[in-house]
Each structure stands twice: as structure tokens, then as C-alpha cells.
Amino acid sequence: MRNTAPMFGRFRYGYVAPAVLLVAGLLYAPFVWTAYLSLTRYDGLEPPAFVGLANFAKLFQDEALLTSTRNTLIWVIGTMVLPVGLGLLVAVLSYDIKGGAWYRVPFMLPYALSGAGLAMVWSPILSHDGIANLLLGVDTAFLQDAPANTFAMLAVWTWQQLGVNTLLFVVGLQSIPKEPIEAARLDGAAGWRLFRHVIWPLMRPLTAVVVGLALVAGLKTFDIVWVLTQGGPGRNSETLAVTMYKETFVASDYGYGSAVAVMLTVVTGLASYLYLKRQVTAT
């Protein structure tokens, strides 16, 4: 034991090196490179030319970015309210009844689809002569006018995400200790009061995780928008992630696209930090 410990100690860097190199090479290096590109003018061909903070200054004057920020905000709030809120509702209504799992199955099915697959399925449904207009008996261009098109896509997103949130809440509800609930029932609490004052506070750690995930998912919304509208018509349904992609790969403005990426990273990091900090302090 005395001999092996120092040996292990001497080589300890060697043992972790592969993991460190992988993380550094695949996660940190691209981020540092993106951060560097955000300070340059770069079209993917000519060598990057340093321009200081010019790309960040442009962020504040770009009307298209204002639209993507508005849309991203709708996505963040919408994602936290709809899939999470409705997921909680379905979980609460179904977890304590006989055969509740069967009621939840239909909500789970769409979760099997990928974001891009989801959009492919809904594209013909929401198109101008699609089945949505036919069923509702209206003639609406769901994916055309802003911000209605973002709400339409949010509805599709809710359809997919509802199930997994329901599942998480059901797990949360089942893991709550029975004693405080029974004690509350004995004290006469039931229905909304029981939920609001006993169940909800007990589920707080799980809710923090679900809402936190929804927050990040909302901020990085890309695939569904890209497949359904490509951020259009014009640029009216772009989210920050779509703007980042379009500026970088469609307009070949790698510098500005990277600036959007850095901004998105900072916003996501900050929002997650503030949210989690608040949750930790509260519990």
C-alpha cells in the first residue's frame, strides 16, 4: 500500500490526461476559437482580420437581432409555461388514479420524434392548404405572420415535450413521502390547498430541474424553427440560435455569427446561474 500510493500519485496526471484532452479539445478549444472569431471579420476564406468589438457593437444596432431576441424570449417563457405547466397538470391529474399510466401514454408518444422529424411531420399540417386549416375551418397562414408563427411552432413543441415533463413530474410525485400528505389530509387539507401548500413545496427540487431544463431548451431553440420556416418569411421567426446559424453559414459572416454565439452563451449561462442560485437559496 505504501509503495503503490505514490506510484499512483506520480502518474495521476497521466491517467486523467485522455479525458482532459478530450474535454479541452472538443469543448473548450471550440469555445475559445468561437470567442476569438467573434472579434474578427472572417468569411471562411480570407484569414480572420481582428476588428475588436465591432461585431458586438453591430449586435446592438441590428434590427433582425431584435426580432430574434423577441422570438427567443417568447420561446423561453412559452417553454416554461406550456410544456412544463401542462406537464404538471397532466401528472397531477393522472398519478393518483387507477390506470393513470394509460392516460399518460398518448402524451409520451410524440417524444420519440427528433426535433427535425417533428417539424417535418407538422410542416404539411400547418401549411396553407394543410389539415390544420381544414379541421379548424379557417384559412390561416400559421407559419407566416409574426409573432403568430412562433406561437404556432410553440404549440407543436408543447405537443412533443408535454409527455417527458409529465413523466418527470409523476416520478417527483411518486417520490414524495406519504406521511406529510396523510398528516395534512388528517388536518383537513384537500384539493388545491393540499397541492399548493404541501405537494408543491415538496416537489420543489424536481421542479427546479424541469424548469431549468426548459429554460435552456427555450434559449437554444433551433431545429424546429429551421425546418418549419428557416427563420422566415423574411427574418420574422428567427431565434438567436437560427440567427447564429444563418449569419455564420448562410451569409458566411463567421465573425458576426460567432458574436451571436458568444452572446447566446453568456445569456444562457447567466440565466441558468441566476435561476439555479435563486432555487438553491430558496431551498
Binding site: 407559419l143 422566415g232 423574411g234
Partner: protein, 416 residues
């Protein structure tokens, strides 16, 4: 401590060696070339060309087709800096070609052009599209003349004939509208520029040229009038919904719109849908808006097939490009897709397209470079977004033109 650092360095060196490669590679002799392209739908036709070239010049070709052009362009640009070497790749003429030539990434083809022109395999008219700084690069992968494809059954049903004047075209649209048929296809995705270029080229082709070279502004009265004319056509109810995701080939086949304006390559969409030229559909040249113009303006495009300067086997790539321009190769390439050819010796099977090619070769039309190639990439991006907005909100045309002009100002301030 020292040993552990040595160990770390050792692992790092191993990983880096595994990632790296042998930098001094000897040139290889290739028997099969890779052809990267953004025409994923044409893989079958590229494969047929590969089989033919293998048989004729002992050099096979394997296509890798992308369907998303942004992804494709990013890949090609990245390949310039990496060891991934497409032997051949498709690109775009205009500003995009100049960009990659400037980077010395594209192999020169001046000798191929000279020989081909001498042999009558390529026309002198095409030369300017492939010339950067006095030298030629790439060869024509395809050429296309733009006009109107129309559903002949619908035209016959309402006794309509291909229009000879602009007023005829509008009258045709009006007749169709009265019979509950949408006259024209347009879209808010990618091809949102089609009607802009057509209306501008047919009204004032000189203004079109000045606009693409930064000598005119998008806010000039001539351009504003074109947008107003476009808006009138939209407001009149002649167009289908621009957000309709139906494939334009199906739009025409199903009669969702009676007319679809595209390049002659759209003929492939017709033939793959088992539609017969002259019976199910046909093609006409779109008349000028301004009848006083001496020649009918016709949108023309040509997509290049290029090879890399740093290709593994530059001789093989050049040999392939040379063969590609030959009548034998072009006959196959044009016939299999039912399209026109860059080689004047090739007989075009489709009657209407054959006539257009012959007339265009005889100087009947004023050929106008397609907007997609004629416009510098950053201005194009803003314009495609702008026209996409306009087709869904026609009232926004002034705002749209101002936004495009802003991008143009930014670009031309450093590129005049």
C-alpha cells in the same frame, strides 16, 4: 512530478499523432474521382456520368451530393484548409467564383477553354462567366435559360396560348383568375428573387446590370417601380400562397398554379413526374414588360464544375473536366436530365428548349446573368430575406428595398 508530466506529454503526443497525418504525400494516380455537389437530387445522373467516363477515359467518378447549399458551401470552404480534398466540386459563377479564385484554391482551366472553343465544344459567349483576372477557371457543369413552364392542359381548357407580350401574359393571368385558377407560382424560401429579376430585366436590363455592380441603388425609382408592379400582380391575386411548401413540380402537375418560372433544369422535375412536353406541359419565353426594348431579356445561369489546385491528382481532374465539355459527355448529361447543354453540338430532345437554345446561340435574346450569381453574396443574403418578407407582406416593399440597400452600401463601400 516530473515523470507524471512526461507521461501527460506522452499521451498528448500519442493523441496528436493519431489526429495528424503524413504531411509529405506523394501525388497519387487516381482511377476514380470524387465529385462533391449541392445537387443531391441529381445523384442518379452523376452516377451515370461516372459509369460513362470510366468506360470512355478510364476515369470513374463518384458523386457526393448535398441538398442544403449553405451546408455545402461551408463544407467546401472548410475543405480548403483541411486535408479533405474533393477532386471535383460544383460551385457558382460571379462573386462566389472570384472569392475562391482569389484564395488560389481553384485550378485554372484556360487551356481546356481554348481547346474547347476551337473544337466548337464551348461557346465564346460563356467565357466571361468563367473568367477571373483574364484567366479561366472551372468548366460549365450546366447552363440554363429561364422562362415559364406552363400546364398545357389548363391552357387548352381555357383556350389560352403562350403570350407574345407582357399585356398578353397579364390577360392570361386574369382569365385564369376568373376561372378560379392561380396563374403563377412564387415562394418565400430561397427562390424569392425570381419575379424581381424577371420584372427588372424585362423592364430595364441596364438598370439590372448597374444594380448588380453597385452602380445603382435598390431605392432608385426604377427599382421601386418594379416592386410596385410586382405588388400589383400579387394584389391582383395571380399568385399562389408563397408559404406553400408543395414542390413546384407538383404545383404545376396538379394545376395548383398554371405557370411556374424556373430555369430549363426544371424540365428534369417534369420528366421525373412522367409529364410529357407538348402534351402535359410546355415552355415559353417570358415577354418583356417594356415592349420598347430591342431584345427580349432572358435570365441565364451557368453552374461551374471546378477542381482544386491542391487535388491529389491534378492531371486526372483536368482530364475529367476536359472530357466533361466534350459532345459525347454533354449529350449524355443533357439527355438524361432532359435539359439544355453548354455544348452547342448537342441536339436538345425537348422541342421548346431546343428552339430557345438555338435562338439564344443566334443572339436573339439579351442574356441576363441570374440574380443569384450576379449579386454579391452578402447583398444576396439580405435580398433573399427581403423578398421573402415582401411576398408575404407586399406593403413592406419600400422598407425591404431600404434594408437590401443598407447591405449593398456596406458591401460596395469596400468592394468598388
Amino acid at each position: 512530478m516530473f515523470r507524471s508530466r512526461v507521461a501527460t506529454l506522452g499521451v498528448a503526443a500519442l493523441v496528436l499523432t493519431a489526429c495528424g497525418g503524413n504531411s509529405a504525400e506523394a501525388p497519387q494516380k487516381k482511377t476514380e474521382l470524387t465529385l462533391y455537389n449541392d445537387k443531391g437530387a441529381w445523384t442518379k445522373y452523376f452516377d451515370e456520368m461516372g459509369a460513362l467516363s470510366k468506360q470512355r477515359i478510364g476515369l470513374g467518378m463518384k458523386p457526393t451530393g448535398y441538398t442544403d447549399s449553405a451546408q455545402y458551401q461551408a463544407f467546401i470552404k472548410a475543405s480548403f484548409r483541411t486535408k479533405v480534398k474533393p477532386d471535383l466540386f460544383t460551385w457558382q459563377t460571379g462573386g462566389m467564383l472570384a472569392e475562391v479564385v482569389k484564395q488560389k484554391q481553384v485550378a485554372e482551366t484556360t487551356a481546356i477553354w481554348q481547346e474547347a472553343i476551337k473544337a466548337g465544344d464551348l461557346s465564346q459567349d460563356l467565357l466571361p462567366y468563367y473568367t477571373v483576372g483574364g484567366k479561366q477557371y472551372c468548366v460549365p457543369m450546366n447552363v440554363a435559360y429561364w422562362g415559364m413552364f406552363y400546364n398545357k392542359k389548363i391552357f387548352d381548357k381555357y383556350g389560352l396560348k403562350p403570350p407574345q407580350t407582357w399585356d398578353d401574359l397579364v390577360a392570361t393571368a386574369e382569365t385564369l383568375k376568373k376561372n378560379g385558377v392561380k396563374a403563377f407560382y412564387h415562394t418565400s424560401v430561397l427562390f424569392s428573387f425570381v419575379w424581381f429579376e424577371q420584372l427588372l430585366a424585362g423592364t430595364d436590363p441596364d438598370l439590372y446590370d448597374r444594380l448588380s455592380t453597385g452602380k445603382a441603388k435598390y431605392t432608385d425609382p426604377g427599382v421601386v417601380q418594379v416592386m410596385e408592379r410586382w405588388k400589383q400582380l400579387i394584389d391582383a391575386g395571380y399568385f399562389i400562397n408563397p408559404g406553400d411548401k408543395t414542390d413546384p413540380g407538383d404545383v404545376l402537375k396538379n394545376g395548383k398554379a398554371a405557370m411556374v418560372s424556373f430555369g430549363s433544369w426544371f424540365n428534369t422535375s417534369m420528366t421525373t413526374r412522367d409529364m410529357k412536353a407538348g402534351t402535359d406541359y410546355d415552355f415559353f419565353v417570358i415577354p418583356n414588360v417594356n415592349p420598347a426594348l430591342p431584345k427580349t431579356s432572358m435570365i441565364f445561369e451557368s453552374g461551374p464544375l471546378c477542381s482544386l489546385t491542391k487535388a491529389d491528382d491534378p492531371d486526372a481532374s483536368q482530364k475529367y473536366l476536359k472530357w466533361w465539355t466534350s459532345a459525347e459527355a454533354q449529350e449524355k448529361w443533357a439527355t438524361s436530365r432532359g435539359d439544355v447543354s453548354a455544348n452547342p453540338k448537342v441536339t436538345i430532345g425537348d422541342k421548346a428548349l431546343g428552339t430557345v437554345t438555338k435562338d439564344a446561340g443566334g443572339g436573339k435574346y439579351r442574356l441576363v446573368n441570374r440574380y443569384f450569381e450576379a449579386t454579391p453574396p452578402p447583398v444576396l443574403t439580405a435580398a433573399l430575406d427581403g423578398f421573402s418578407k415582401f411576398v408575404t407582406e407586399p406593403d413592406s416593399y419600400k422598407e425591404v428595398l431600404e434594408t437590401i440597400q443598407k447591405a449593398a452600401d456596406e458591401y460596395w463601400s469596400t468592394h468598388q
